[in-house]
Amino acid sequence: MLVSILHRVSGDGMAVAGLAVLLWWLGALASGPEAYATFQGWMWADLSALTWSGAEIFYSIIKIILKIVVIGLSWAFFNHLCSGLRHFVLDLGAGYELGANKMWSIASPIIAILLTAGFWAAILYL
């Protein structure tokens, strides 16, 4: 039940927010260094350099939300990948035994969280 809900949430979340970010990223790459700097300034803002006065407060809040969106999209990717691979196995007609089914329904979201953590660890520390 939970795996099914998470599969749909992560999939449709990526379909809406993920593809929008993908298109903005590619569009910025296609438009040149200035457009790319704008993209990076919003989607991957330096949180230690945010300003908190006047209208800037509004922009700073959006930049924090966008950082959560990016991290959330990385989780959505790994979650959808894991539960999707589980679906492939179930489509083959395998893995319906109660024990095996329960085990992988618990394992797939946990593996997804571990992969997400590993992905960011690799980006930040490698």
Binding site: G11, D12, L19, L23, L26, G27, L29, A30, P33, L81
Partner: protein, 146 residues
């Protein structure tokens, strides 16, 4: 044909004659997505940074550019089918359902077309830069020779 249970309402109507194709395409594109998105994630991890220079140079290569175009087609197709199922599950009024599905088709096809155009432009910008550099070097050579 009964009018009681959900099964009773559809019993005797025969096959809907559609649905299997949608189901299969969702799987075919899922297989493509596994390969192509793992390529993209591996590229993000293995390239030195996320800068404009690194990625515009990388994506202007023949293989990465082709992979990105394939990724756009495969992912948008898969996302279209996923959102279609979401709409069919939650939007029941005939008019609203038609309108949201029409909007989804426009967004998915338009988005994919834009993405492919962006990749083409990234490749052509890189080639234009290389050609300009070549012409500049040639000009400098000819001026130096004089």
């Amino acid at each position: 044909m009964g009018n009681g249970t959900s099964l009773g309402k559809v019993r005797g109507l025969g096959s809907s004659h559609e649905g299997a194709h949608h189901w299969l395409v969702q799987r075919f594109t899922a297989i493509g997505n596994v390969v192509l998105t793992i390529w993209l994630v591996a590229s993000i991890l293995m390239l030195p940074d996320m800068s404009y220079g690194t990625w515009s140079a990388y994506l202007s290569g023949a293989v990465p550019a082709t992979a990105m175009v394939l990724l756009i087609i495969c992912v948008f197709w898969h996302a279209h089918h996923g959102l279609q199922v979401l709409i069919e599950d939650y939007v029941h009024t005939a008019g609203n359902k038609f309108a949201t599905l029409a909007l989804l088709n426009l967004a998915a096809i338009g988005g994919a077309a834009a993405g492919i155009f962006f990749v083409v432009r990234i490749v052509m910008t890189a080639q234009g830069d290389a050609a300009a550099e070549g012409a500049l070097a040639e000009l400098q050579n000819s001026m130096g020779a004089r």
